[in-house]
Symmetry: C2
Subunit: 138 residues, 2 copies
DNA sequence: CCGCATTTGTACGTATGTATG
DNA sequence: TCATACATACGTACAAATGCG
């Protein structure tokens, strides 16, 4: 698979699709590291900007994670633990603010769940580690 | 409030914080339009890159939305309708793939909810329009 | 319908800062 | 200390969408 600079689809989207398909096919399993930005830049003959944009796209989807000075990896999704929704309770999902992301140490592309108890208490938890459930019988 | 190019916090983060506080204070209410990128670039004496990075940050948080050729606005959050979680059902939140985002016409920074019925049916809905609930009494 | 100005999107280059090992 | 890799930030240029006259 190659990249066509004259296609109507942007170069960085093409690279993102290419990498995504490699992840989905299992060629790049969770935990696998990506070549460096400059390597990808040279390998595909595109600017480093385009490489960074592609990776940023995948990070925002929760597919990749990047550490400064080290590199980029296919994200390993953590196991989800069940959170039982209390009778009369509710929950919403949203993206965290920058501060919340920092304080909760969340990867990019990870939403949070706001779980509201009937008594007014609010709990904010990482959405990638949580599954909201309701038991069969009350 | 101004921007300090020699601060240890990146210029684009400073601008994002500045704009976020203007949103939170009500100075930029939902629906308000931002000055153009070149305008902000000149007003604060920073590069257009930095302006775009700041706005991208706020888009990823679901605070702003941008239309090519038109501009950027403070996002108006839609009303949430209640989705009652069935007994034995569950729900998770995650970011949509690019394709899902396109097909469901979702803004950046909007997660999706996967609602699983006990019979195995899966429903994918925009998280910004949905509130998961459980009634008081079964 | 056409052309124009405005605005955002893409893509390149360069330079320097900062984290990691 | 050093090489590597990602982050920030400036610049330029052109493409593409929009709205208006």
């Amino acid at each position: 698979m190659t990249i066509n600079p004259r296609s109507h689809t942007p170069v960085y989207v093409q690279l993102a699709e290419l990498l995504r398909s490699r992840v989905e096919s299992g060629d790049l399993p969770p935990g696998a590291s990506l070549p460096s930005e400059s390597h990808l830049s040279q390998e595909y003959g595109i600017g480093r900007d385009a490489v960074r944009a592609a990776i940023a796209l995948l990070r925002a989807e929760g597919v990749m994670t990047t550490t400064k000075g080290r590199g980029t990896w296919v994200r390993e999704t953590p196991r989800r633990s069940d959170a039982e929704l209390a009778p009369g309770g509710s929950a919403i999902a949203r993206m965290p603010s920058s501060r919340e992301r920092r304080e909760m140490d969340l990867d990019e592309g990870v939403p949070v769940l706001e779980i509201h108890s009937p008594d007014g208490e609010v709990q904010i938890v990482p959405a990638d580690q949580t599954r909201i459930t309701r038991p069969q019988s009350a």
